[in-house]
């Protein structure tokens, strides 16, 4: 424990700004993964235990895209679209077979694919650590906000995630497709009786969730190193986020992700070895107080 470091940091605005931004980027990446997880759970009633693998695919596809074209925008597209395509195939061929079956079976199918995806990445890209490096456009001196160091890339990352959050929120609330998705989450039989292809809705929601995870992976590629199995810790953290925020709630995922991000970044100062532990402790406290999470309505 190193509480002096934490208190010392809280006393200086430079340190607070630096830690808050690093907490925000952890939180925003987690949000992108967790919101896909929560959407898929809300509509398909499936806990996608292999969601972390799509984050990993996103990062690796982005790496390939960046190496081929040298453009970070192409890399982001590669990551998101590649993850979406694999997700769509995965959902249509395998996940669609376990709808309505017991949770154990669904978890097992996903667990099998965690193993298979991780090994496939090892086969294709190799087992060693990979790094994409910061794109040339962002290799500029960092900004200073109230004395704290903020690399411009962090600003991009945070804004992309915020834009996605806003688009998702508005899209689900206002657009026709959004309304259909919410209806399908509520009562799929009725929706399909109205002549709407629910299989397609399920497929597209799953692909959308995977695209978001892939986008998170692509955004993380310049700032984190890549390794097969990198998705797992992200998966566990996004589970914590969804459970804290409430399964199926997008606002919950956002708040949960920001809380976890801040706990991680400030916790790493005060409790360097127990940072993960703080997260689990926080989850336990939230669940004991509110078993359905902060914004969960449905008593699952």
């Amino acid at each position: 424990m190193d509480l002096d470091a934490l208190i010392g940091c809280l006393g200086s605005s430079a340190c607070v700004v630096t830690q808050t931004t690093s907490g925000l980027i952890i939180g925003m990446l987690l949000f992108l993964v967790a919101v896909g997880l929560t959407l898929i759970f809300g509509v398909l009633k499936i806990v996608n235990f292999s969601h972390g693998a799509f984050y990993m695919f996103g990062a690796y596809f982005a790496l390939t895209g960046y190496q081929l074209t040298g453009s970070f925008v192409v890399a982001l597209l590669f990551g998101a679209i590649g993850a979406a395509i694999i997700g769509l195939i995965f959902e249509r061929v395998f996940i669609s077979r376990v709808y309505g079956r017991d949770v154990l079976m669904q978890l097992l199918v996903c667990y099998a694919f965690v193993l298979i995806f991780d090994d496939s990445v090892k086969l294709i890209w190799g087992a060693e650590f990979k790094s994409m490096g910061m794109p040339a456009a962002f290799q500029v001196p960092p900004w200073f906000i109230a004395g704290g160091v903020v690399p411009p890339f962090y600003i991009l990352l945070i804004s992309v995630a915020l834009v996605v959050a806003a688009l998702l929120g508005i899209g689900l609330a206002r657009s026709r497709l959004g309304k259909v998705i919410r209806a399908a989450a509520h009562n799929p039989d009725m929706v399909s009786a109205l002549g709407i292809n629910t299989a397609m809705i399920y497929g597209s929601v799953f692909a959308l969730g995977c695209a978001l995870a892939g986008l998170a992976g692509a955004l993380a590629a310049p700032v984190r190193s890549m390794t097969p199995g990198m998705g797992f810790s992200v998966l566990i953290e996004s589970f914590i986020v969804t459970v804290i925020g409430g399964m199926g709630s997008i606002l919950g995922a956002l708040i949960g992700a920001l809380l976890i991000g801040l706990i991680r970044s400030f916790g790493s100062l005060g409790f360097p070895l127990f940072t993960d532990g703080l997260m689990y402790l926080f989850m336990v406290i939230v669940l004991v107080a509110r078993p359905t999470g902060l914004f969960g309505k449905d008593v699952a």
């Binding site: 806990v47 395998f94 077979r97 376990v98 949770v103 154990l104 079976m105 978890l107 097992l108 199918v109 667990y111 099998a112 694919f113 965690v114 193993l115 298979i116 991780d118 090994d119 496939s120 090892k122 086969l123 566990i236 589970f239 914590i240 459970v243 399964m247 409790f271 070895l273 127990f274 993960d276 532990g277 689990y280 402790l281 989850m283 336990v284 669940l287 004991v288 078993p291 359905t292 008593v299 699952a300």
Partner: protein, 340 residues
């Protein structure tokens, strides 16, 4: 459902004798099983075989205890491995630091596990299905991070090193490999026998009823929360014994013992062997360990092989091996009956 209505209530007189007779049969089976296992070292001179059976005892106790939760009560715990880890670390630490005898260390570890399980269980068993799975997973990860961060006590990510002393007790010397083997087999057989008694007792049938319809169970006056908590603690104790065997076997304890993958493997073992028969998890343990050993020996793409096998069971057979065998045997018997 008909057998579920047989409760520990007055009307069930004809069934009172049945479990008692079945209990004797179980004991006979256990003795035969133990005799066969105990004869192995004298028939085959293979250390690898003994090692394999010791690992099977550790994981078999763990997986069977998990089945008390998953198969009998419908509580899908994704954090059962924490008690395996707690058993391994508790026992290892007591032996290293407290200088006590092995049986005393085991009893103390069981007491520690019981206290932990009561606290954790009291929080978790209120939650339903998927939330229960996640909160148990969170507790597992919490214990794992405590083990990693409390370096002065647990050795952090290096694990408990320096070996575990094994003072002779009751004339048993666990430094001798064959005696360690016999000791593990004895723990396995006794553990399985006790769990079998729990599963076949009126309490075991109460658990099945809670699994099938918790609301109905509470209507006829069963305290569902207390029954779930009881089985959670009982299962934790047997998992802890599994951890102790493992700690004796490797002469230490490693953070991996408390990592979530142990729980994942436990769930997978149950699935592989089948959750509807008592010995399913035991069969699953043997299968998974064989699969592990061959896959790691033959290929470096262990994940793909294991993943495909899991898919085969989950989507192809749609049940565990023992379930499959039992169904197949029933179909065969019915057919034979029809013909005669």
């Amino acid at each position: 459902m008909s057998e579920l209505n047989v409760e520990n209530r007055a009307g069930a007189a004809p069934f009172v004798t049945r479990p008692r007779r079945a209990a004797y049969t179980d004991i006979v089976f256990a003795i035969i099983g133990f005799a066969i296992l105990a004869a192995l070292p004298f028939l085959f001179d293979s250390k690898a075989l003994l090692d394999f059976v010791i690992r099977c005892s550790a994981f078999g106790l763990f997986a069977t205890s998990l089945n008390l939760l998953v198969g009998y009560t419908g509580l899908i715990s994704f954090g059962h491995g924490m008690f395996f880890g707690l058993g391994a670390y508790g026992f290892g630490l007591l032996m290293q630091r407290a200088n006590v005898s092995i049986p005393l260390a085991m009893v103390c570890t069981l007491a520690i596990t019981a206290v932990a399980a009561v606290v954790i269980g009291a929080i978790c068993v209120r939650l339903k299905e998927i939330y229960f799975a996640f909160v148990t997973l969170a507790f597992q990860m919490l214990i794992h991070s405590v083990i990693l961060s409390w370096q002065s006590l647990t050795g952090g990510d290096q694990g408990l090193r320096g070996g575990i002393k094994r003072p002779v007790f009751w004339g048993i010397d666990l430094t001798n490999h064959v005696q360690l083997y016999i000791f593990s087999c004895a723990l396995l057989v006794i553990g399985l026998l006790l769990m079998r008694q729990i599963a076949q007792s009126p309490f075991g049938y109460t658990l099945r009823m809670i699994r099938d319809n918790a609301t109905r169970a509470s209507f006829i006056g069963i305290n569902v929360w207390r029954a779930k908590l009881t089985v959670f603690v009982l299962a934790a104790l047997f998992a802890s014994v599994g951890g102790m065997i493992m700690s004796l076997f490797v002469s230490g304890a490693y953070p991996e013992f408390a990592y979530w993958t142990i729980s994942g493997e436990g769930i997978f073992i149950n699935m592989l062997g089948g959750v509807t028969t008592f010995l399913g998890p035991m069969v699953g343990t043997v299968l998974l360990l064989i699969l592990n050993d061959t896959a790691t020996r033959l290929t470096e793409h262990y994940g793909i092989v294991l993943g495909v096998v899991i898919l085969f069971f989950a989507l192809g057979l749609r049940k565990g091996l023992m379930d499959f065998a039992v169904d197949w045997y029933r179909a065969w018997r019915d057919k034979a009956k029809e013909q005669s």
